[in-house]
Symmetry: C2
Subunit: 191 residues, 2 copies
């Protein structure tokens, strides 16, 4: 999606530790014109795939998931993050490793909101090592639902998570894929 | 908004402690058809007021704020929650008391994303005691921006926060206001 690449080049800031700051348009401050176009592009990419539900994790994925769900006309479910695995009741859980905080956290979704008959599209703002998406895919599997694929706003291709998921046969569509990011600037993967 | 009242009656569940569970359509699982209509209704209510920015708090307000921002054609900013007040850098902060968890937390927004020239609409999913909205209003005041008002999906009128804000001269529009909620059911305030 050329618009996403242009936004990253115009407003993204590269911080130490290979962090790409996009707070001015994608999180913290959300450009709602761009957000609507992201939703429409995700709907176009997965048109005809029979998606019945969009699944994301709180909190920075919610706006994009909501835009995609509105464009596709399907409900959005978001998994909640729990710091402990001490969760009971009728829920599906998965453990996710956070490299940023060097800790594991549990993601949780109610069994009521993810059903065996669902065809699920995972949506998130960032894809780096892929651990969060793998956790969401695990929730889909535990529900006995079908994983259609994933749609991501920005993939850090050089961190390998997206390609690892693709190697597992999971369809991963990212609106912009960064192949490198350093003092010389950003190189996008041709799509 | 009659549709919101109907949804609450059809799918809301009253839990002990005067908790209204609306996970099936407003949070956890989001009905995106309803979400789009909520955004349009908020845009209609504040039409002509010159709103330049929607402000909310992570995470359950984000989807509604995004829908409102898209319908109004203005950016959305969300304040982040910090458990400690140990925050530095160029940010505005406010302290919010949580009755649910009986603790104070700090909400934070970057000075870059809330400007003196902004006319700000506060958006959230729930309004009970009003402490979160007061914290957001404090961020707006600290930025030197203008507070246009607030738009809320569901107000627990019997907890008094909304009327306290109105008594301060703040315009508060809630799509459904619950005047009572008990074993006999729910009574809405006529609007």
């Amino acid at each position: 999606m050329r618009l996403m690449e242009e936004k990253i080049l115009a407003e993204g800031k590269i911080l130490p530790g290979q962090i790409l700051k996009v707070g001015s348009f994608l999180n913290q401050r959300i450009d709602t014109d761009l957000l609507a176009k992201i939703g429409q592009e995700i709907a176009r990419l997965y048109d005809g795939e029979g998606v019945t539900k969009v699944l994301t994790i709180e909190s920075s994925g919610i706006a994009i998931a909501a835009a995609a769900g509105m464009a596709m006309g399907v409900p959005v479910v978001f998994a909640k993050k729990h710091k402990s695995s001490n969760v009971d009741g009728e829920v599906y859980t998965a453990s996710v490793h956070s490299y940023t905080h060097n800790t594991d956290y549990t993601i949780v979704v109610s069994c009521d909101y993810l059903r065996p008959e669902d065809k699920v599209l995972l949506v998130d703002d960032f894809l780096a090592n892929g651990k969060a998406l793998m956790g969401l895919a695990e929730l889909v599997a535990k529900a006995g639902a079908t994983l259609v694929g994933a749609a991501i706003a920005i993939e850090k291709g050089f961190q390998g998570g997206g390609d690892a998921l693709r190697a597992q046969g999971i369809r991963v569509e990212s609106l912009a894929i960064l192949d490198s990011m350093d003092d010389n600037g950003i190189t996008f993967r041709p799509q």
